[in-house]
């Protein structure tokens, strides 16, 4: 029972990180039909910006340093994503090959720049003492970082649902995911929704970057790319354009990965996720949410 609880909560924590990346990816695809391979770069740049911010406020307590790092990561992720949409993606709408090339190029260039500036070795993140201790849940000593990541991802999920269901911009995004042309035909500037969705996606990826550093204890230039791969799988399993579907799929993928990596041979968990993707595509091509596209 102890191991089960530990694996379950650790898997939920991993799923929470996947969700934070996947939610933005899913909305961006759903609304704009843009496959954003640069999303991992938002994650990485924001994480390094957050880490750098902790150096700037080195005299403050570790709690304050961590909070500053998170806020900086969210802001940098949002700004980077907004600039990417305005400068690089906007001129390439409806040119899907161009979008893929630009976002892949941006991701590669960004990771190389980060490696050039900060080196390839992981950077240790100094965490407040309460984060490095554990809480006993069902007999298992769960690192508090796992619980923190889960709580914050749940909070973001709630905020995203509120945004989508209770605000006019959210209404526009939901409608745009269904039929972008008709939204324009109602006199709505869907371009603004595009930029907003990119910004929100970048902010969530930025938060994920810093929370991944908190979860693993370090940040490194390659993690964004690895996480992005699984986040894409989550987006497809959850259903393109569905935040709730992404949340559900992220939980399934994270937990499955943890359990099978523990009970099976190394790498079985990762392989099982790809297998799950194949099964979902065969049985329910629209993913958990059932969206057809």
């Amino acid at each position: 029972m102890t191991t089960f609880a530990l694996l379950l909560i650790t898997g939920l924590g991993l799923g929470a990180l996947y969700f934070l990346i996947a939610a933005g990816l899913s909305l961006i695809w759903g609304l704009m039909r843009v496959l954003n391979f640069a999303h991992g770069a938002f994650f990485t740049v924001a994480a390094y910006a957050g880490w750098s911010a902790t150096r700037l406020v080195g005299g403050a307590s570790l709690e304050v340093q961590w909070l500053v790092a998170v806020l900086v990561a969210i802001a940098v992720g949002g700004v980077f994503a907004t600039l990417t949409e305005v400068v690089l993606i906007r001129p390439l709408y409806a040119r899907h090959v161009g979008q893929v090339l630009v976002t892949v190029g941006l991701a590669l260039a960004t990771i190389s720049l980060v490696q050039g500036g900060f080196g390839s070795d992981p950077k240790q993140l100094q965490l407040p003492a309460w984060m490095t201790s554990t809480t006993t849940v069902l007999g298992a000593n769960i690192p508090n970082t796992r619980l923190l990541v889960i709580v914050l991802a749940a909070l973001v999920f709630g905020l995203l649902l509120f945004f989508l269901r209770r605000t006019r911009f959210g209404l526009i995004v939901r409608a745009g995911v269904e039929n972008r042309a008709m939204v324009q035909a109602l006199g709505i500037d869907v371009q603004r929704a595009f930029t907003l969705v990119f910004a929100i996606g970048g902010m969530a990826a930025g938060l994920a970057g810093m929370l991944a550093g908190t979860y693993f204890g370090t940040i490194d230039p390659g993690r964004g790319t690895t996480m992005l791969l699984f986040a894409f799988i989550v987006v497809i399993i959850g259903g393109l354009g569905s935040v709730t579907g992404s949340a559900l799929a992220a939980v399934v993928v994270g937990v499955l990965q943890q359990f099978l990596n523990f009970y099976g041979a190394a790498g079985v968990g990762d392989f099982s996720v790809v297998l799950l993707l194949a099964i979902v595509l065969l049985v329910r091509p629209g993913g958990f949410s059932g969206a057809s596209g």
Binding site: A185, L186, G187
Partner: protein, 247 residues
């Protein structure tokens, strides 16, 4: 073609289309379409299947790439984005209704609200009282007729809409619902100009005043509906009818 020398005939048409061309890949769908829509009443855009009627409406709105000139109330709109054209008072009721299936009826209507425009919920609910009782229902679960009501309601909602581009509003509907839609269009024509694409010629005949007929991506006739429908030879030539008004 009618006798008028200039196909954009009305002196100052509310909507003027001149030399509109649309290409889909190698296909030249609209080949220099020109016509005018005068203020008030309903103008019918008629023609056989596949002659470019829907593409014309989409071209006017900028929903497809096009060249030529489209003026609305004297202002050139061909360089504007779709949302900018719509905000000038052009509403669109698409052929397949295009309601947002995952949104409720109420959300579909709220999405159509435009800041600064007087909203005509009273009129909408007077014409379609069912929409009020089904406000919380997902639009995707409505019948075809109810979805058409949502589509028409979205177009009628903003008080500053001056022209409605309505594409085959009776397509696939039961006769009782067709009558309801026809009544709603008559009422709408009292407050806005309508450019109506309609395959049901008896419906078109009962509603429209002016007619523009398209054939193979070109305007083949413009004029009065009675002139066209009252002349079997003309009707046969332009609409392929054995006898005018037989549909």
């Amino acid at each position: 073609m009618s006798a008028a020398a200039d196909p954009v005939a009305p002196a100052t048409p509310l909507l003027g289309v001149r030399d509109l061309n649309v290409y889909f890949g190698e296909s030249h769908i609209l080949q220099g379409v020109s016509f005018g829509v005068r203020r008030g009443g309903i103008t019918g855009l008629l023609g056989r299947n596949g002659v470019g009627k829907t593409t014309t409406l989409r071209g006017i709105l900028g929903l497809v790439p096009r060249t030529g000139s489209v003026t609305f109330d004297g202002e050139e709109t061909v360089r504007l984005g779709t949302h900018e054209i719509v905000r000038r008072g052009v509403a669109y009721v698409p052929e397949d209704r295009d309601v947002f299936a995952g949104l409720t009826v109420d959300e579909n209507l709220r999405l159509a609200e435009r800041a600064g425009a007087p909203l005509r919920y009273d009129l909408v609910y007077e014409l379609f009282p069912e929409l009020k009782t089904r406000a919380a229902q997902k639009a995707g679960t409505l019948s075809g007729g109810q979805q058409q009501m949502v589509a028409l309601a979205r177009a009628l909602l903003n008080g500053d809409n001056r022209i409605l581009l309505v594409d085959e509003p009776t397509k696939g509907l039961a006769p009782l619902v067709v009558r309801h839609v026809v009544d709603a269009l008559r009422r709408a024509a009292e407050i806005a100009t309508i450019l109506l694409v309609e395959q049901n010629l008896s419906v078109a005949h009962s509603l429209v005043r002016d007619v523009v007929v398209l054939d193979q991506g070109r305007v083949s006739f413009t004029g009065d509906v009675e002139q066209l429908m009252g002349d079997p030879a003309l009707a046969r030539k332009h609409l392929g009818l054995a006898a005018a008004g037989s549909h």
